[in-house]
């Protein structure tokens, strides 16, 4: 496939791997966080870790949108889906995220709630048009990548005068979460970030400059293909060696310093930043999530159905180490329930739900490294 195979070329990968191995100083540790789930998935699926020297370690960040959804928001989505005459539409992975009381949207659906899986918010709009007698609520999740399409849908709904369409907004902001990781008490064992790919096509590279300037952490924005990731790692290793902390852009074919102005304006028209928003594993983070502006209140599920969207926070599962893993303090295999109680088929923590989650990626692609072939599987 053109424009795909070029970015997965094994020969080029070997060349970059050699360059990384030569550049990485043996006495030094390089702890690099890929923020995005897309990068986590690419690293696991293509076996990128195998091509890196042992002292260059990738830490999987919180950039998997379903992984950071707090339990209370899933509970609210289930309550919305159970409202009589209501259809809840959302992206597929969201269906399996564990909620309170052993529930999930998938289980609620099996029990009769009308929950539909969609590839895009446009499907939710189409459903609202086709079923004027039913309330259609779009359970909107994701970072700055999926936010502009939600904004477009809300504007379309207003322009068309749709009365039965609303958005349960859980869109979250990347730079706020990166800052929260760096601000965590006790410090963070991090030497640099592989910066987001698709998010950066929207917001541009400028919003990361403060991480270089104020926190002294290098950031290299990278595409989601495995060669992109390798090249970004090489650039980070050089920055660390040189003692530099800059924002560099490996993904120049799609990312500009200022991003996509039109998309940013759309988001700005429809959404405003919440004072704070709860993230699973990371807790409340100031100015880290969006809500609909007052002028779009008619399309805001939180304002229209306040009884269902209760505000009380629900604590994460006690044994689950998602928080420490998302902050880079622990690896998935360090968690007691990893691969025993918590598996992709029966996730306890949200990191085990999506293939972009740190635990699911390690379980599905990398767990052969944890034991020797002669050991009986646990």
């Amino acid at each position: 496939m053109r424009y795909i195979d070029e970015f997965r070329d094994a020969g080029l990968a070997r060349n970059i791997a050699r360059a990384i191995a030569q550049a990485a100083q043996p006495a030094r540790e390089y702890r690099l966080m890929e923020f995005c789930g897309g990068h986590t998935h690419a690293i696991a699926r293509y076996g990128v870790q195998d091509l890196l020297p042992p002292n260059v370690r990738m830490i999987h960040g919180p950039g998997c949108p379903v992984c950071v959804l707090p339990i209370a928001r899933i509970d609210a989505a289930i309550a919305l889906a159970r409202r009589p005459g209501t259809t809840l539409v959302t992206y597929a992975d969201t269906l399996r995220v564990p909620a309170s009381g052993g529930q999930s949207l998938l289980r609620a659906k099996a029990q009769g709630a009308d929950v539909r899986m969609a590839y895009s918010v446009a499907e939710a709009l189409a459903l609202a048009r086709a079923q004027p007698g039913r309330e259609v609520v779009f359970f909107a999740i994701g970072f700055e990548t999926t936010t502009p399409p939600t904004a477009v849908a809300v504007r379309c709904a207003r322009a068309e005068g749709l009365k039965n369409f609303s958005v349960f907004c859980n869109h979250v902001l990347t730079p706020a979460a990166m800052a929260a990781i760096l601000d965590a008490p006790g410090g963070v064992p991090l030497d640099g970030f592989v910066g987001p790919a698709h998010v950066s096509t929207v917001i541009g590279s400028r919003p990361y400059e403060r991480f270089a300037r104020e926190y002294g952490k290098p950031v290299v924005i990278a595409g989601f293909e495995p060669l992109d990731v390798m090249q970004a790692i090489r650039m980070l290793v050089h920055q660390v060696n040189d003692g530099r902390a800059e924002v560099e852009n490996e993904f120049t074919r799609a990312v500009t310093p200022d991003g996509n102005r039109k998309a940013i304006d759309l988001m700005d028209d429809v959404f405003e930043t919440r004072e704070r928003f709860a993230w699973r594993g990371l807790g409340e983070i100031p100015r880290s999530g969006f809500r609909l502006r007052e002028r779009y209140a008619a399309f805001d599920a939180e304002r229209r159905f306040p009884a269902e969207v209760a505000a009380a926070p629900v604590p994460d599962h006690k044994a689950c180490e998602c928080g420490a893993i998302l902050r880079g303090h622990k690896r998935p295999q360090d968690c007691k329930v990893f691969g025993t109680v918590c598996t992709p088929d029966n996730p306890i923590g949200a990191c085990m739900v999506s293939s972009e989650g740190a635990c699911a990626a390690h379980y599905s692609y990398g767990r052969y490294r944890d034991t020797a072939p002669t050991q009986e599987a646990a």
Binding site: A10, R45, Y368, T371, P373
Partner: protein, 346 residues
């Protein structure tokens, strides 16, 4: 003498109604005017509640498969031919020659008779081409809203020759793993016709009866260890099943696994992995290393195995991991399918 049925079935505008499953005259008419002429064989036309036949050899093979695919008609096939191929293949994966099929239909009230005829004729055509007749059957009708058009269950019997011992628990360390052609075609063809996905492809389902290919393979290598058709869950899940049954691990070479460029592109767009996408006309074979070349040549000489390839080997691994060297040069686990990304694919 007066005709049994005053008015013939209206295949142009008529629909299935509850009487077609009642056991009464309307059901008899459906059998007489649709099923008997379509399947057209001596067993069925005797109109008994069962079919009688003698079978050669001593060891019989039996398998059954229910088909609930949505949509009913898709590029390269429909639920009718799929129901024939699916069960023939399950029987053939024992290295057996399939002999007879039985078919059970669950029809939803209101389903157009014209579409039912298309499905039944496609089934009959597939059975004729495979030389495996449908010798008995059953029809039930459920109320509107209690089904989804048509569900078809087929059961097949066959016989297996002496000396052929093909079973999922026979993979041994050192064995070679072969696949009969490109993977993922069926699943992507189905997906491209789902109403909520606005994408068009030229990909057609690979649905096919594989007993001819299996016969050629067994002739070339009678000591073949394992055969399985990677349907739901795709190649990845099938290999995990075999690894578990045999208590072994596997090492695959991603670059050797055949995937059509269109399938690969569609999977990129939809965020799917072709390793987990269903096939309906492909098989996985495991044989001793020394037999691999002969087996591959026999597969490639058959029209349904033209792009067959050796994709990996069986290794000792108490954890029963299927691992893969990625085309990128890394290593990873190829795990069981998790969740249900593509419901009702067959």
């Amino acid at each position: 003498m007066k005709a049994d049925y005053i008015r013939p079935l209206d295949f142009r505008a008529g629909c299935v109604d509850m009487t077609h499953g009642s056991g009464g005259r309307a059901m008899a008419q459906l059998v007489d005017e649709l099923f008997l002429p379509a399947f057209d064989n001596a067993w069925l036309s005797r109109l008994n509640d069962q079919a009688q036949f003698t079978v050669p050899g001593r060891r019989m093979v039996m398998s059954t498969d229910s088909h609930v695919v949505s949509p009913l008609f898709f590029p390269g096939g429909d639920i009718g031919c799929l129901a024939v191929h699916g069960t023939i293949n399950d029987v053939a994966m024992a290295g057996a020659a399939p002999l007879y099929l039985a078919a059970g239909f669950v029809l939803e009230e209101g389903f157009p008779l014209g579409e039912l005829r298309r499905i039944v004729e496609s089934m009959a055509e597939a059975a004729r081409a495979a030389r495996v007749p449908v010798v008995c059957g059953d029809t039930k009708v459920v109320q509107k809203g209690k089904g989804d058009g048509v569900f078809i269950t087929t059961t097949g019997v066959g016989v297996v020759a002496d000396g052929v011992e093909i079973s999922g628990d026979r993979a041994r360390p050192g064995d070679r793993i072969l696949v009969s052609g490109t993977i993922g075609d069926h699943g992507v063809a189905i997906l491209s016709h789902r109403e909520n996905l606005g994408f068009e492809t030229t990909i057609r389902s690979d649905t096919a009866a594989l007993h001819g290919l299996v016969a050629a393979m067994v002739e070339a290598v009678p000591g073949l260890h394992c055969l399985r058709d990677p349907t739901r869950g795709g190649l990845a899940t099938t290999l995990n099943e075999l690894a578990r049954q045999s208590g072994v691990g596997m090492r695959l070479d991603e670059a050797a696994i055949p995937v059509a460029p269109e399938v690969s592109a569609a999977c990129e767009l939809l965020g799917l992995d072709p390793l987990y996408v269903a096939n309906e006309g492909k098989l996985v074979a495991i044989c001793a290393a020394g037999d691999a070349e002969r087996l591959l040549a026999a597969m490639r000489a058959h029209p349904l195995g033209g792009s067959a390839a050796q994709i990996g080997e069986v290794v000792e691994d108490a954890r029963r991991f299927v691992q893969m060297r990625t085309a990128f040069g890394g290593q990873r686990v190829v795990d069981w399918l998790t969740g249900e990304p593509l419901p009702r694919i067959c």
